[in-house]
Subunit: 205 residues, 2 copies
């Protein structure tokens, strides 16, 4: 079984069991090699259980996309430190896969699965809606931190939503590069994003 | 037949004919629905011609990835205007699909195909190498413009390669968002990238 660092805890019900099995089949066979049979092979359920829960492979994968996005989001449910600069950099670090604990290769797998699933949205309206809705939640969270920083007078009076959207675009670009290049440019890109925050968001001392 | 605005001119040989047919089959069936038969159906060649030129579907799609990347690159073969700020913004505009002429929906298709092909690199080493090599060429081109700006004293003394890499990351992030969201955030993101250039690259007057 794959390391479940990011899929926290044990699956609570059949739906979660199917999600874990999908994650394991995805790691083993890649997106193009996924089938209901191969996902069933990673679980203790039969194919008929899968068809009882989902209309088919596309429906299952859409649920899986929502599942990993919610999983990412659980990582963000930390208490505000009261320091907006620290909160902003921490949240972006989490988005970029720097959880600080857990297995790094597991994080890479999760980011790779995210890009494979997200690319389905090029032609699939349901995926497109899911990723738009979830991205907007991330943007709202980032914008809330930026507003707090402006209120405290520690951030410049930037447009919170526009700045948050641009930061998330940089993060998505960095994840795309990390998961599809032969080298790993993440450390450098993360530093560039932090410099952007220092120059464009944080108020001059 | 699809609009060939971005696939300039008529195919010069059988290889190019196969590339055009692949592009048309991709538009019609999406990445997941591609097969050698469906690509052959878009051309005047039989399947056996395809197998004469390529080892199989993966080999053909890898060639197609190189073909569209070269096609993008052809768009960049313009003369330097002598104004580095203008050249830098023009090149980024081209990367973001703002060719200024041609059919916009055709550009969207090409950017969508780029994201679908690039996501194959998550698990396919050959795709990963192709995209790394081509991205590095784009970065070198951007870095050359930035060096010219520094030499002319119109840009700050930034690190040309690091700045170019970060600009390309922003552009890739913007393309990922444009092709996988229900709205089209490109105009706003393009403006944010130009503001970044104004603030972080262009020297204060």
């Amino acid at each position: 079984m794959a390391d479940r660092t990011l899929l926290t805890g044990e699956p609570a019900n059949t739906h979660d069991e199917i999600m874990f099995a999908t994650y394991e089949a995805l790691q083993k066979h890649g997106y193009a090699g996924l089938s209901i049979q191969r996902i069933a092979d990673e679980s203790e359920h039969t194919k008929s259980t899968f068809y009882h829960h989902f209309d088919g492979k596309e429906d299952l994968l859409l649920s899986f996309a929502e599942f990993i996005l919610e999983n990412f989001q659980r990582a963000f449910e930390y208490e505000s430190s009261g320091d907006p600069e620290r909160d902003l950099k921490l949240f972006l670090g989490l988005l970029l896969g720097e959880y600080g604990d857990g297995d790094e290769s597991d994080t890479d797998e999760m980011l790779g699965a995210y890009i494979e699933l997200r690319s389905q949205a090029v032609r699939n309206e349901a995926f497109r809606e899911t990723f738009t809705r979830t991205s907007d939640q991330y943007v709202d969270h980032l914008a809330g931190i930026i507003e707090e920083g402006i209120d405290q007078g520690v951030f410049d009076e930037v447009d919170p939503q526009a700045t948050a959207g641009f930061l998330l675009t940089m993060a998505d670009g960095a994840i795309l590069l990390k998961t599809t290049r032969t080298d790993d440019p993440m450390a450098q890109l993360h530093a560039e994003i932090e410099t952007y925050i220092d120059h464009e968001v944080v108020a001059d001392a």
